[in-house]
Symmetry: C2
Subunit: 119 residues, 2 copies
Amino acid sequence: MDEKNELMCDEPCAHEDVVGKVRDVLPDDDTLYELADLFKMFGDSTRMKILFVLMESEMCVCDIAELLGISQSAISHQLRILKQSKLISSRREGKNIICFLADDHVKSIIAQGLSHVLE
Amino acid sequence: MDEKNELMCDEPCAHEDVVGKVRDVLPDDDTLYELADLFKMFGDSTRMKILFVLMESEMCVCDIAELLGISQSAISHQLRILKQSKLISSRREGKNIICFLADDHVKSIIAQGLSHVLE
DNA sequence: CTTTCATATGAACAGATGTTCATGTGTTTA
DNA sequence: TAAACACATGAACATCTGTTCATATGAAAG
């Protein structure tokens, strides 16, 4: 006999089997958290701008900052976060650090979002 | 003669024309903010769980809360946010409010993210 | 080796965000 | 009409986030 949560409505509007079915299909918690963390990267306008820029061309840090009109420090902090998420990568070239997209999914994810926003 | 930002590196590693080209292609600020706000909706695990559930089946508020093991109040607050973003919609059915996805893009956006996470 | 330049980083701070708790609202049922 | 139920909402609170400012690092040029 199943436990009765205090919060649950007396007569579930969805049948028990539907609720159970959905529960079975739900990804495990770790996956859900990873997924939310991934989308969190796209959820800040500064990071979104950086990703957009790098979709067009790889570029060094100072050029990104100058192009976007955002301080070098702010850009650098955000780049660190994006690197930790494996969305971008970088290489040294002379005095500069060249940043570029590390993941093909970035473009398709942004494209999906954009087609929604521009609908 | 173009203005020289203090922050810009002396000799841009990307040529000026590349930077200019990228600037031309960048969506306007409003679009970028909208886009970031959209992804922000997917950037919280509670909202992600709600959306996942509704991808499987429409469901009343209390069932969502019970299924996810999250308080009714927390769910309700998040539902409000998701409705404001036009991602979900609802209708009354007897005593219950039935929630459902309002946008087809939701599935494809989540699918893209999931394929990245599960890679 | 010293200076300069491009970038990274830590501390501090303000603002945003998500949850809880208490309570309000509106619908249904007795 | 009164009680019960499903849901919404506001205030308070703690936490997370993103920026700035000052400074550190490390490669390159002199």
